[in-house]
């Protein structure tokens, strides 16, 4: 209790300063809350020392480079384990380490998957500073994949590691379902780049299913999503990696041109078919020994259809994407604000007042921006989404056209081989191969 309140033996001026002025201010209820030195700092007569304001420091910067170093080392180690040692067991141990370090210690942030957005934003908004460590997280796995296949996915990425742990009863999905579901990561990548480049949102981070687990802290909806992913992951191995991961798209395409890659057998394939069902990710391509299954006229017709189909789909989807401009831009805070301001001015024009102003409107009023400023900002965003919509739609059309082409054109394969694009280099199949040297 405040004993001092029983008497007030101070001069009238002090009383005025400490009671009346604040009282008046209470009545006025000013909107502006900027720090103003309304009351001078008191000169204490007692031996009172003013405490220091404690400002906590962020995580030390060199630790970010330690993360890059750990990433580099683990990529190197996993690549060696996959390509040279060919040991599933050690790859598994490495995935436990990655889960512990990049997952639970670093709490999944910053990760290579999310760094796509940082790079896109930095490319289009030059006031956004991309730390070199983030750039390294984006580049290193891609470069390793370009030379050695997706060893990053094998056991450096904590997301893959946690899903690998629960893949107890993987079922083959069939090539058709794999192809159709495989379109989702392309769409996700396109949307993520679009939203990041326009400075709207980082959707990969927002809908990241595993960060919540690594931090033991997430919303109920996210936990539900994670739970469904992990439960389905028991039967569909690595559902996030195969049917959602946008970084996987980049790795898939770089891995196709990789210099070296995990091979099922270290020597000549003896077609024993032992590896056939060993891959939980349907990433082993079976031999197709029929060398020319289709006649030349059929092939010519197919090629003609494809050359027409690709530009057609690109244009159609691009146009559709540009028409989605309003829907896509509707997520952006600047566009949302412009809509609210427009609604407000309409209400005011009609001679009414707003009953409950949203925080956005309050902030807009406090910021001193003019209506036209808000509108011009929003229209600039809309314009970006118009071009972005064309690009996103065109990209989607191209992806679908290429997938159709991939299914239409014949392939020739002598042996059981890993699909260089889809293979996560987990080295499970090497254990099944009877040839050991």
């Amino acid at each position: 209790m405040d004993k001092s309140r029983t008497s007030y033996p101070v001069s009238r001026t002090l009383y005025f300063v400490h009671r009346i002025i604040p009282g008046l201010l209470f009545l006025l209820l000013p909107l502006i809350t900027l720090p103003i030195q309304r009351f001078p700092k008191p000169e204490f007569e007692s031996a009172y020392t003013q405490p220091q304001t404690f400002i906590p420091t962020p995580r030390a910067e060199f630790l970010a480079y330690l993360d890059v170093f750990v990433l580099l080392i683990s990529l190197g180690v996993v690549t060696w384990l996959v390509l040279k040692k060919r040991s599933r067991l050690w790859v598994f141990f490495m995935s436990l380490f990655s889960l512990a370090y990049f997952g639970f210690y670093r709490e999944g942030c910053v990760c290579s998957i999310g760094s796509i957005q940082n790079v896109s934003l930095a490319l289009f908004d030059h006031s956004f500073i991309l730390p070199l460590s983030v750039l390294a997280f984006f580049l290193l796995p891609l470069i390793f994949t370009l030379f050695f296949g997706r060893t990053f996915c094998a056991s450096v990425c904590p997301f893959g590691a946690i899903q690998d742990l629960v893949a107890f009863k993987p079922q083959p999905l069939g090539s058709r379902l794999n192809t159709v579901l495989g379109i989702i990561p392309y769409l996700y990548l396109g949307l993520a780049v679009l939203f990041a480049a326009t400075g709207t949102d980082f959707i990969i981070c927002r809908y990241d299913p595993f960060v919540g687990i690594f931090r033991f802290n997430a919303s109920f909806g996210m936990f539900l999503f994670t739970g469904i992913l992990l439960l389905s992951g028991v039967f569909i191995a690595r559902p996030y990696c195969r049917f959602l991961c946008p970084y996987g798209v980049l790795l898939n395409w770089t891995s196709r041109f990789s210099l070296r890659h995990l091979s099922i057998t270290p020597a000549e394939c003896i077609q024993c078919r032992l590896c056939e069902s060993s891959c939980p990710y349907d990433a082993i391509d079976y031999p197709v020994t029929d060398k020319s299954p289709e006649s030349r006229p059929v092939m010519v017709r197919k090629m003609m259809i494809l050359t027409l189909l690709v530009p057609f789909l690109v244009l159609i989807f691009g146009y559709a994407g540009s028409r989605m401009q309003d829907t896509l831009a509707g997520v952006d805070a600047r566009v949302k604000l412009a809509k609210e301001v427009m609604a407000l001015s309409r209400i005011q024009d009609a001679g009414y007042g707003m009953q409950d102003e949203s925080f956005e409107i309050k902030a807009y009023k406090a910021s001193g921006k003019t209506e036209s400023q808000v509108y011009s900002e929003a229209s600039a965003v809309l314009k970006k989404f118009y071009f972005g919509g064309w690009l996103f739609g065109g990209f989607t059309g191209l992806v679908i056209a290429l997938l159709i082409a991939g299914r239409m054109l014949p392939v020739y394969r002598k042996d059981y081989v890993t699909n260089k694009g889809r293979c996560f280099s987990c080295a499970r199949c090497t254990d099944y191969c009877p040839i050991k040297s």
């Binding site: 002090l14 009282g23 900027l34 720090p35 420091t57 962020p58 995580r59 910067e61 500073i129 997430a218």
Partner: protein
């Protein structure tokens, strides 16, 4: 046949490498910190300040999230929208600015008659703001960070009626430094910005060498 395929693969590999190199070059050399010179140089007298060619990314600064109180309207979303619960945003007291008022706008609910620490008088929903008698008529206000949820009620009161020494700040010992801050996304005033990790605070009123002041000066100079 294998020869041609090999050649195409090598070509593609070179192409991808070149593309990655171009991309990272573009990203590094386009990055400029327009808001403040993160090198720590005073750019006010610099003739090149408008087109500074030093890419900020090369300086290798990590960026962290911070709340700019000049934009904040104390909507209360910091308390609810952080990925952490309780929020990593807390009220921080810049003692150097405080007027040590008896009638503290940040401590008391408007219309409080008796200025006592009774629960019904307090603005803070969690009793995180502590009031201590120093000498007549001055009171010291401290924040119990364990209790503070970052709702900003006291900040609003202090800013409206007092000096504004109570300020909301991202506490970096708690902040996970998410790639995109979930409070920043929902902040109605766009008050969240990325700041260099060596100057993580935007707290005002601590002294003359405020990071905010220099930033403002730089901004005024273009």
């Amino acid at each position: 046949m294998p020869g041609r395929r090999e050649f195409l693969n090598t070509l593609m590999r070179g192409g991808i490498l070149a593309a990655l190199g171009l991309l990272s070059g573009a990203v590094i050399f386009r990055s400029r910190d327009e808001k403040s010179c993160s090198y720590g140089f005073d750019c006010s007298g610099c003739s090149r300040s408008k087109s500074c060619m030093l890419p900020a990314a090369l300086e290798a600064r990590q960026m962290v999230w911070q709340l700019d109180m000049t934009k904040c309207i104390q909507c209360g979303r910091c308390a609810t929208n952080c990925v952490m619960s309780p929020s990593a945003v807390k009220c921080t007291h810049a003692f150097a600015m405080c007027g040590y008022c008896d009638l503290c706008g940040g401590y008391f609910k408007p219309g409080t008659k008796t200025l006592t620490t009774a629960a019904e008088n307090q603005l803070c929903p969690t009793n995180a703001l502590k009031r201590k008698f120093i000498e007549d008529p001055f009171f010291e206000y401290t924040i119990d960070e364990e209790l503070c949820i970052g709702c900003g009620k006291c900040v609003k009161g202090c800013g409206a009626f007092g000096n504004g020494s109570l300020q909301l700040q991202v506490r970096h010992d708690r902040c996970k430094n998410c790639n995109e801050c979930s409070i920043a996304r929902s902040c109605p005033a766009q008050a969240f910005t990325r700041v260099p990790a060596n100057k993580p605070s935007l707290l005002r009123g601590l002294g003359p060498e405020l990071p905010k002041e220099t930033a403002k000066k730089n901004q005024a100079n273009g």
